[in-house]
């Protein structure tokens, strides 16, 4: 059976290659490491009988360079509401979550260029998208200074409250 350190090493190696999947099977275990093949599909780590390792690899994957993000931690308590739509992760990136239910738009009009693309530099006041509910257009600002590193929702898609929309690496 593989040790946790060895699994971690395997993930690191996989991350440096163009391989999207690595499967190892031995008599006492099965390990599957998979990178997302396209935006939106979650990377998966499947193990049998090594549950603690699974947890570890999942949290590792979440902070690696793959486009995998932990579920937003939205507290239901009344306090600290300003923090609820910006959740920091370990590599100094923030995830902008939708503050309301509505339709997600990446541009001001169907034929207009998107507000931001991956790699766009933003300030805290840069509008990154619009979320619409019943002709109320909520222009969402980045709220941090940095660079857009991931776009997590599709143009025209209905987004839920708390759903991740963008990941911005702070600079």
């Amino acid at each position: 059976m593989l040790k946790i350190g060895e699994i971690r090493e395997l993930i690191r190696l996989l991350d440096e290659t163009h391989l999207v999947e690595l499967r190892i099977e031995t008599d006492d275990m099965k390990l599957l490491l998979r990178k997302p093949s396209f935006a939106g599909e979650e990377g998966a780590v499947v193990t049998d009988g090594v549950t603690h390792a699974k947890r570890l690899t999942e949290s590792y994957a979440a902070s690696s360079r793959t486009d995998v993000f932990p579920a937003p931690t939205v507290s239901s308590a009344g306090g600290a509401s300003a923090l609820q739509d910006v959740v920091k992760d370990e590599d100094n990136a923030v995830v902008i979550n939708s503050p309301m239910v509505g339709t997600f738009y990446r541009a001001s009009a169907p034929d207009a260029p998107p507000f931001v693309e991956i790699g766009s530099r933003v300030t805290d006041k840069t509008v990154v998208c619009i979320v619409e509910a019943m002709k109320l257009m909520n222009e969402i600002e980045a709220e941090v200074q940095g660079e857009v590193v991931a776009i997590l929702a599709e143009n025209g898609q209905l987004v839920e409250y708390g759903q991740p929309l963008f990941k911005i690496k702070q600079v």
Binding site: A82, P99, M100, V101, L136, M137, I140, L158
Partner: protein
Amino acid sequence: MEQRNIHPTTRIPVRSESEQIRDQIIQFFLQANGGFVSTRDLSVRLGISRTAVWKHIQLLESIGFSFTVQPRLGHRLEIVPNIILLPLLERHLSATCQLGREVKWLSEVDSTNAVATRLAALGAPHGTVVVAARQTAGRGRRGRTWFSPVGGLWVSVLLRRPIPLQHAAELTLLSSFAMRRALMAETNLHIDVKWPNDLLYNGKKVCGILAEIRSEGESLATAVLGMGVNTNLLATDFPTDLLKNAATLSTARNQPVSHQKVLAQVLSQLDPWVEQLSTGQSVFPQIAKEWRQSCITLGQSVRVNTPAGLVTGQAIAVDDGGILYVRTQSGLMQKIHTGDVLFEEGQE
């Protein structure tokens, strides 16, 4: 220069110094209640030269005011134009209404929503109203233009209240509902609501609403409520492609609609609702019964253009959050947050 007309929370005044003097002059004439006002009197009370008073009166004449002049007596106000200036609007507002206590009037502008957004960034107070006689790039939903020549009511209202975002979408429903009540009271015409917030007369669109908001955390920071009403346009003003689905109220009624009265009623109605929303309470359920009765979408077979595609079916219900439920031919119930209910011709 008197300070009393400058709103205390305004960092940069919404109206220029000259516009404030103009509005004070109008106020003096309104207070004179059809009596004469001498230019010497105005000059003393405003602390400006008599030449400056004359210039202001000429400016007022250029935007539609009309005076009779009598030697030794002065000027008497005869005609007040159908435009929105602070003293003309304020006289129709309810005493407690906090909306409409600052007014920027423009003869021509790209978009009143754009101006209101710029003024918001400069610190304009809650309730600031921006009105234009004509918009050159009036905004509709998703980058569409809103046809807005001289004769319509093109207005944006700035709100600064910490309304929870979960209730913010009610703002557009409530604005259109307040507008419906005001238009019906002013014109005696029957107006319908088309989900979510278009107003129709005889099946044709007479009013559209578009709100643009910025949020802070989970609350509203600023909202710009844009309302466009085809009040006193002529049918001949409309391009033919719009004429199929748009109407103008003055034609239906044969006399002009008072912009001042309609807007004052809308603001006076909306003001307590905005305050209630900002305490975290929902308002729409209180008016939902009347709203549903006025909504022609309900019970109809509809085609709704949504970002996810065309939804065809029976409009079954609108819930207390304003969401439309459509039962499709396969029997599936679809919840619609965003979309355009298409007119019969299939055009928005």
